[in-house]
Subunit: 393 residues, 2 copies
């Protein structure tokens, strides 16, 4: 992948325990336009508080990110750790410390082992250029079982550019405190305020379709850097090149978001919940999220049980306007419910066959209006419980 | 237990499968004042729709309740089944059919096997008086592992009376579609509109502290019948006898609600979440419910992991006002967090010891105001997933 002007590095800092690379650096050789979306959780990790402040200026040079420790609920000492980490990196790179955005994921409530971070920064800086973005994807993993990387190539003003991104997983679809991090880089030139708008929109139909706003972790962060070294005329507004960039940006974030769902802790299924016919978009989203988050629906998916009744019950309590006599429901192309009633015949057998597939779609038509929303979820397995009961130990 | 003027009956109707008594009748020999609280789910089972209408008049004679089939998402045929079941019972008892309230719990989306119900009603009526309220508690069980019965005795105007109740479980603490049913009977004389108010208040601090309003199943029902045959002057208002009745009513509903949590599907812990110092009562409840419903918190309880970070994260996304630097948290008497920070020392070891107990309390002080709320939850185990993945099959 050609991504002009970006360099990456990963090292083992042994932040939680030794044996894996857990500290990563993303660096742009020139100032990059930057846009970011952070957790709505009122309990915010120190690096999130600092990152919000630094990303708000719309430009940055580097992101330094660790796994193994969330640096959340760590108070003033935690903030000093985030500041010091960014300062050490900035000093080594010879740039303004405000241009370095720190990020963390891992256990909550434990102070950062700063002695180990201090020791790890020099080799991190020396290694710049010797690691790939995929190495960064690996370094930020916590309970993820595979690295998440997505890449798209585009053209703007006759000039080729690349958008690439990495992400780490969110445990289950409603991540509570299981942090989601995603970092995107592009060498396209993009006007900053337009980048912020396009990125917010992309996050809304990707990461926010696997995460309820306000139901986010202490550390959730999605950030993009655009350094302009591809040399295209800066993208902005609604022309064809800008529209094409938005489509690629949406594809990268959606691919990463789906990868997070697929790698949900203990997940064995990737399920798309498609709500249509809602009174409005908000209702469609409420209904979709209620289904996607219901432990009873998710355990039924794990059991490969075509239990449409649990889905209707979740729609019913979602807060969306519902007239039960108008609801239709399908598993892939198999219609299960029409007019609120089970269709009978061989639907049970055929619906059950759909649920045995590793990926399938649930379409819910509320029959009321034009509201639509698509959300993505996984099933809820024994392993989810095992992973989360044992996580800290 | 002496409960004047009530008679009970249970029979095997083999509604889902043979082998257990699954149809029950509660009958008052005289018209009883009645008060009820039904699910807020917009998808309501046929017997709920009918029961809401019938309970609204404030008086009834009988409740006929089955397990094995929820009669939900069954449309007009389902409503006809509910009407016919109540009518058959009313005819056999020689009472007005509107005085019979039907209730159902079990699988959604399957029509009631009315041939079997018709065959079962005559023996149900013949058996009246040969069964106990505990038999009713057993007949309404679905995935419950023990029958839930609570009894209190009181005095009013020098006359003894009894309040007794049964309940069936709600799967996990946020029951989604796992139905909660509870039926209370008392021979005390109680003025109807006051009974409705007192019962609503009792439900709010018991069943509604294990169930988020709006997050209820298609069938949830709590109902009380007061037939007055104890002979006391009708209770009403705020005198000492009425206050004593309210206390006993609260005790019965809370005992049943705690029994439901204790018998949560796969539960191994009964956890009381006590939120104080919130900006107001609503915030306290939001924070408590977010903690009680978090799958990550619940799996940590199962893992006996003193993971206070997950609890703070849930408080953070609850929607309640939070200043993370003011939050304190304890497991029983072991202080874990002060001023938003881990207290250190041997708190980890001592907190962990608390989590090894089968019952414990989490106290969260937000340090902002006078708002308080107490909610009850269970842990989230392998067995929860197993039970709910396999329920229909």
């Amino acid at each position: 992948m050609e991504l002009k002007g970006f360099a990456f590095s990963v090292v083992e800092a042994a932040i939680k325990k030794p044996g894996r690379k857990d500290l990563a650096l993303i660096f742009s050789r020139v100032p990059a336009a930057c846009a970011a979306v952070f957790t709505n959780n009122k309990v915010k990790a120190a690096p999130v508080l600092l990152g919000m402040e630094r990303a708000a200026v719309g430009s940055c040079r580097a992101v330094v990110v660790n796994s193994g420790n969330a640096n959340a609920c760590t108070g003033q000492p935690g903030m000093e750790s985030a500041l010091e980490t960014a300062r050490l990196v900035a000093e080594g790179l010879g740039i303004d410390e405000a241009a370095v955005i720190p990020s963390s994921t891992g256990v909550i409530g434990v102070q950062m082992p700063m002695d180990r971070v201090r020791n790890a920064v020099p080799p991190l800086l020396e290694g710049l250029g010797h690691s790939s973005l995929e190495d960064v994807a690996k370094a930020i993993m916590t309970t993820d079982t595979f690295a998440k990387l997505a890449v798209r190539k585009g053209m703007a003003g006759g000039v080729p550019y690349t958008i690439a991104g990495v992400a780490k997983g969110a445990g289950m679809i409603r991540p509570d405190m299981a942090t989601m991090l995603s970092f995107l880089v592009t060498d396209a030139a993009v006007e900053q305020s337009w980048l912020q708008e396009a990125f917010r929109a992309a996050v809304d139909v990707s990461f926010n379709c696997i995460t309820v706003d306000g139901d986010t972790s202490t550390n959730d962060t999605a950030l993009i850097m655009a350094n302009g070294l591809a040399g295209n005329p800066p993208l902005s507004g609604a022309d064809a090149d800008a529209a094409a960039f938005r489509r690629l940006l949406d594809e990268v974030t959606l691919e990463l978001a789906k990868a997070i769902v697929k790698d949900g802790e203990g997940a064995t299924k990737l399920v798309t919940i498609d709500v249509r016919g809602a009174a409005n978009h908000k209702d469609a989203r409420l209904a979709g999220m209620a289904v996607a988050n219901s432990p009873l629906v998710k355990t039924a998916f794990f059991g490969q049980d075509a239990n449409w009744g649990r889905i209707l019950a979740a729609v019913g309590y979602s807060g969306a306007e519902v007239d039960q006599s108008r609801v239709a429901l399908s598993f892939d192309d198999v219609r299960m419910v029409s007019g609120g009633l089970f269709v009978g015949g061989d639907a049970e057998t055929r619906g059950s066959a759909v649920l045995h597939k590793p990926e399938f779609r649930v379409t819910i038509d509320l029959g009321l209006g034009e509201g639509r929303a698509t959300v993505y979820t996984s099933d809820f397995s024994y392993d989810y419980v095992k992973i989360n009961a044992d996580y800290r130990t």
